[in-house]
């Protein structure tokens, strides 16, 4: 996912929020992972907004995408220039209404934004894990989120909501803990990566691993593989946009010049934009975390892990009311992939709504303010007519 963070046009905001942490799975009770290795202790960074009601049944868990974090809405300090990454969607009266719901967003396991990941210190050695960090899966991320939800004393979530890799986590929640999820909103997501999506991730990983500074993942304390990570981010950005959005945003326009420079500087605006996005990304993200999270996304296969290869069998476990949304110009997780899950949900008699939103912004469309998206999410979540 890209960064389009902007303040709400109407100025409505959840206001000040606080980054919190929850640590669990202290050895010897480490958490077993899908790969077979145990991991512990595990720290999960999370933020909340809104108020948990007395019945504790108004909680919504938001699952962030690849490079996101727990800071979903509001600001950490009044002087913050930018609010959380989904500020236009989460707040009083917004699509996810914090006047009604208690919103939780946690940083995923394996990331580098406060939760345990490859850049964290391994208590056994006193040094960062690096590549000794076990390969985690979407299922492992959900297990860690489940531990957090239990810790917060929430028996059942009103909704799990996620876009892209966050949608994968939401899907995993629906089949892994069907009785704990009342409804799910699945945006621009898939039950499994296509070869195209895996291919782009692999090129991005190769870019990191080809950087001499990567050093087999052991670069903490020394120069970082910034070039490799920046190129990985640039590749990602291309897949998040679309032909139409790039044509509109950049076309063939040149950057601060009237003619070609006849060298390999950034002549075109699109080059300049990608270089800027790459530079900005390395300031905040860890290269190893990028490897681990993209691998988890590539491994995710709901059909294989929950349905013996069949989407219909996988969703037989699910109980939640579903809203599936795709975007016309998303070529990373195209609409046909959303239709696969919708069809399987229908065949299981699940209460599912599906909308394909006309949008030129490509895969990133769910991160762009849209009255249509906010409207349907609000309508779906606030549905009080269920008998």
């Amino acid at each position: 996912m890209s960064e389009y963070i902007q303040h709400d046009q109407q100025g409505a905001s959840v206001g000040l929020v606080e980054k919190q942490t929850f640590t669990f799975a202290q050895p010897p009770t480490a958490m077993p992972l899908a790969c077979g290795s145990p991991l512990g202790p595990i720290t999960i960074a999370f933020e909340t907004c809104g108020r948990l009601n007395a019945a504790r049944d108004n909680a919504i868990l938001i699952l962030h995408a690849l490079s996101g974090d727990a800071h979903v809405a509001g600001v950490h300090a009044p002087s913050d220039e930018k609010p959380g990454w989904w500020d236009f969607m989460v707040g009083p009266g917004k699509g996810i209404d914090t006047d009604r719901y208690f919103v939780i967003c946690s940083n995923i396991l394996g990331s580098c934004m406060g939760s345990t990941g490859p850049a964290s210190i391994d208590p056994a050695t006193g040094r960062p894990y690096g590549l000794t960090f076990p390969v985690v899966t979407i299922g492992d991320m959900v297990e860690a989120q489940k531990a957090l939800i239990d810790h917060l004393g929430i028996q059942r979530l009103h909704a799990v909501i996620g876009g892209s890799v966050g949608g994968m986590q939401a899907l995993e929640w629906c089949v892994r803990y069907p009785t704990k999820v009342e409804s799910a909103i699945l945006l621009a997501t898939t039950t499994r990566h296509s070869a195209l999506a895996i291919a782009f991730n692999e090129v991005a990983r190769q870019s990191i691993m080809a950087d001499p500074n990567w050093n087999g993942g052991d670069y903490y304390g020394g120069p970082k593989p910034d070039m490799g990570l920046a190129v990985a981010r640039m590749i990602g950005h291309i897949t998040y946009l679309s032909d139409a959005s790039m044509r509109l945003k950049f076309g063939r326009r040149l950057q601060d010049k009237a003619d070609f420079s006849f060298n390999f500087d950034a002549d075109f605006q699109v080059e300049s934009y990608l270089r800027y996005q790459g530079r900005k990304f390395v300031e905040r993200f860890d290269a190893n975390a990028f490897l681990y999270i993209t691998k988890a996304a590539d491994y995710f296969d709901l059909e294989r892990h929950h349905g013996n290869g069949s989407a219909v069998a996988a969703f037989a476990k699910a109980r939640a009311r579903m809203l599936v949304v795709s975007f016309t110009s998303d070529w990373l997780y195209p609409t046909y992939q959303s239709r696969v899950m919708v069809k399987a949900m229908k065949k299981n008699g699940l209460d599912v709504s599906f909308c394909e939103i006309e949008a030129q912004w490509g895969h990133d469309a769910f991160l762009i303010p849209s009255p249509r998206l906010s409207g349907i999410m609000k309508g779906f979540l606030d549905d009080d007519h269920i008998p």
């Binding site: 599912v352 709504s353 599906f354 909308c355 349907i376 609000k378 549905d383």
Partner: protein, 211 residues
């Protein structure tokens, strides 16, 4: 003469008439459900468990916004995913005249629903007949307000045609009501005298042939 008990409520007369046929708590599939007014009405007034299907994004968004379960897609394709008798009722309200190949769709409706409701504008209304006869132009009426070149209504159907079609395709007509109402009008009446000539719409409750 408004006959329906739901008369005071703000939905179209023909939809109210359809709603009056749906029992409390029924499961309903609405094909070409538009912005979901009927689905919402059935959900809130009849506690029906409703799913709509429509191809138009704005209509689908409107349904979801009002809490109606809906799928965006082609009704001819989407209906195939459901098992036999998945619904008590399948409704095709004022959409039949826009279907390219109606027989396979009606067979699918009868497969996934125990009963189906079909309604359409009656092309044998006296005004339609007179317009063609006297002016020589393709009829344009309040119920069929389009010119021949911009109409979404690619099929012209009369009440008599539908009855014959039932025999040809092989389904039973359990109930037939002819009504007089305009397209967006909330009042109307049941037409009992010479409906083929005086009804603007026909409503049919249909079911599979029992062996």
């Amino acid at each position: 003469m408004t006959t329906s008990p739901e008369a005071q409520n703000g939905i179209r007369y023909d939809l109210r008439m359809v709603a009056s046929w749906i029992p409390e708590g029924a499961s309903v599939l609405g094909l070409g459900c538009g912005d979901g007014v009927l689905m919402h009405y059935l959900k809130t007034h009849k506690h029906a468990v409703c799913t709509g299907i429509d191809i138009d994004e704005a209509s689908v968004a409107s349904c979801i916004t009002k809490g109606v379960t809906v799928l965006q897609g082609d009704i001819n394709e989407e209906v195939k995913d459901y098992p036999d008798n998945a619904f008590d009722y399948v409704i095709l309200a004022q959409t039949l005249q826009q279907i390219y190949d109606p027989a396979p769709l009606i067979r699918e409706m009868l497969r996934v629903g125990r009963k189906s409701v079909v309604s359409f504008p009656n092309f044998s209304h006296w005004r339609v007949r007179l317009m063609l006869l006297l002016t020589g132009h393709a009829p344009v009426t309040p119920q069929l307000p389009y010119q021949w070149h911009d109409t979404p209504n690619i099929r012209v159907i009369t009440l008599a045609d539908f009855r014959r079609y039932a025999r040809q395709v092989g389904f039973r007509i359990l109930k037939e009501v002819a009504i007089h109402t305009d397209r967006q009008v909330k009042s109307g009446r049941v037409v009992t005298f010479w409906p083929d000539l005086f009804a603007t719409y026909g409503l049919y409750l249909i079911a599979k042939k029992t062996l």
